[in-house]
């Protein structure tokens, strides 16, 4: 059974292009599949365009789910970016 991990972060800023880029680069470092879900939409966290397409905005809860050997580390890294990067706003 592959490991899985999940966490939810409420955004303190909009998930614009630059934080989406930072998030994608963080997710890409892990072998686990990482999926973001917000408002009933899902995106592959390793695709910057898919992450931007979510249109996730301030105040929305974003759930990060990962499946794979390094799932827990991937979720930790991605939630850290979501928490930190969206503070900047744009």
């Amino acid at each position: 059974m592959p490991e899985s991990s999940e966490a939810t972060v409420t955004l303190t800023g909009d998930l614009h292009a630059r934080p989406a880029g930072a998030l994608t680069m963080a997710a890409a470092k892990f072998s686990a599949e990482v999926v973001l879900s917000v408002g009933g939409r899902e995106a592959n966290a390793k695709s910057v365009l898919a992450v931007m397409q979510l249109g996730a905005s301030r105040g929305q809860p974003v759930t990060v789910r990962a499946v794979g050997a390094d799932a827990a580390e991937a979720v930790a890294a991605v939630t850290e970016i979501l928490t930190a990067a969206t503070k900047v706003g744009d």
Partner: protein, 134 residues
């Protein structure tokens, strides 16, 4: 340090190439080599084989190969003729990406900045065609 993939943006417009390079570079966190090759030497709209060649030479410095994104029409032809003439063979692998210009550049930049291989970066640019905005 591992070899990194460089990106060349070929446009008829110097402003479009430079602006797209700026945007993609910022989304990529500044950790990627993106070289714009837009317009002609005398500032008109058009494509210049010399500008494109020089941009590819700069982008090849990362050692991981180069992905070239053309905007339209003769941008494609200009890159194709450089590839066909063998002028790029000494520079390592150079791939021409069939991709939307802005989205492809952003997706490629993020993949390259994250340490992706030449194939990863090329695939990211190509897959941008299927990504929606809304």
């Amino acid at each position: 340090m591992a070899a990194s993939v460089g990106i060349v943006l070929v446009s008829h417009s110097a402003a479009l190439a430079a602006g797209t390079a700026e945007l993609a570079g910022q989304v990529g966190g500044g950790a990627v080599l993106i070289v714009p090759a837009g317009g002609t030497f005398d500032g008109r709209l058009g494509t210049s084989a010399d500008k494109v060649l020089s941009a590819i030479q700069s982008a090849a410095a990362g050692g991981g190969g180069v992905v070239v994104l053309p905007d339209l029409g003769s941008s494609v032809l200009t890159v194709r003729s450089l590839l066909a003439n063998g002028e790029l063979t000494s520079l390592g692998p150079v791939e021409l990406a069939d991709a939307p210009f802005v989205e492809g550049a952003v997706a490629a930049a993020v993949m390259a900045a994250g340490g992706g291989s030449l194939k990863d970066v090329l695939d990211a640019a190509r897959e941008a065609r299927h990504a929606g905005k809304l």
